[in-house]
């Protein structure tokens, strides 16, 4: 758990863009892994299982948020925790472009470039054929290029 907690937290954060929600999701994922009788014990298998659980929880969270969006609007938080953490990393333009990707594209890009996983391992975690993962990453990079190309020069200088 010591070695997986932070990467799992970062993974969840990239998907939900909220550090507290991400932490909550990671806690729930570990709790599920602990509770389930089918949790694999080998480290690599456990990591994949944990990441898949996080992806499922993120999907559930997205559905809850979509339902909540249909309710009367509540006042936004004064400060978004994302701003505190995410803005520390430079390259505002890239950060904004990453946020424009779909969740599935962010999953693939995170695993491939943030965790430096191979396409094969990324495919195993996402339970998707490797060729599909390559397509998702390729499409995501295309989106990022277009997004970055459309941004103004001062944003790009920030990197």
């Amino acid at each position: 758990m010591q070695s997986l907690g932070r990467p799992a937290w970062k993974f969840a954060f990239v998907l939900v863009h909220d550090i507290d929600i991400a932490q909550e999701i990671v806690q729930a994922a570990f709790a599920r892994a602990w509770a389930s009788a089918n949790t694999p014990s080998a480290e690599a298998d456990f990591r994949r299982y944990l990441y898949r659980t996080i992806m499922n929880l993120v999907r559930d969270y997205g559905r809850q948020r979509a339902r909540a969006a249909m309710l009367p609007a509540t006042p936004a938080a004064a400060t978004n925790p994302l701003d505190i953490v995410d803005r520390r990393a430079g390259d505002d333009a890239l950060r904004a472009a990453l946020r424009a990707l779909t969740v599935r594209e962010r999953q693939a890009v995170y695993l491939r470039y943030f965790e430096d996983q191979s396409f094969a391992e990324t495919a195993r975690i996402m339970r998707t054929p490797q060729v599909t993962v390559r397509v998702i990453v390729h499409r995501a990079l295309g989106k990022l290029r277009r997004e970055l190309g459309s941004r103004t020069v001062p944003n790009q200088v920030a990197m």
Binding site: Q27, W34, D91
Partner: protein
């Protein structure tokens, strides 16, 4: 450097900055441990009685089907003698003639065959187990005797 490699390089640099600035996990680890501590662990579920009975039923049906299948296959693959030897049954067989083994026999199919003796013709439809006497029309010279026998097909 192509645009693709440049973007990938930029992503990796961003990832390093992101990792550097992301909070340490000490508090997270404590929270995870606390959450896990209050989570009940699911036992591996044993089969209930109805599930066990259903499983046993399935096994019985599968074995029965296997036995029946093997029996069918053996029945189908049992060789049929090309020229079955007529046999004489010890029990009285109605409408069945005893068949001396010296008669000439012609099996036109594996089941249907003809045999001829002096003044009588016999026909079998079960591979030679039973032979029935077939009445012959009178020959032109008024006798039913013939010195040679030829059989053409299943009916004649």
């Amino acid at each position: 450097m192509g645009a693709q490699q440049e973007l990938e390089q930029r992503l990796r640099i961003y990832a390093q900055d992101f990792d550097h600035d992301f909070p340490r996990a000490a508090s997270l680890d404590r929270r995870i441990m606390a959450r896990v501590a209050i989570t009940a662990r699911e036992e591996r579920r044993a089969l209930t009685l109805p599930q066990e009975l259903a499983l046993a039923g399935l096994v019985v049906v599968a074995v029965a089907l296997l036995v029946i299948g093997i029996a069918r296959v053996r029945e189908m693959t049992q060789p049929v003698p090309a020229h079955p030897t007529p046999s004489v049954r010890s029990n009285p067989v109605p409408a069945t003639a005893l068949f001396p083994p010296s008669f000439p026999v012609k099996m036109v199919t594996p089941k249907v065959g003809w045999a001829a003796s002096v003044g009588a013709v016999f026909r079998t439809t079960d591979g030679g187990l039973r032979w029935e006497s077939v009445s012959l029309p009178s020959l032109p010279n008024g006798t039913k005797e013939g010195s040679a026998s030829y059989f053409l097909d299943r009916s004649s």
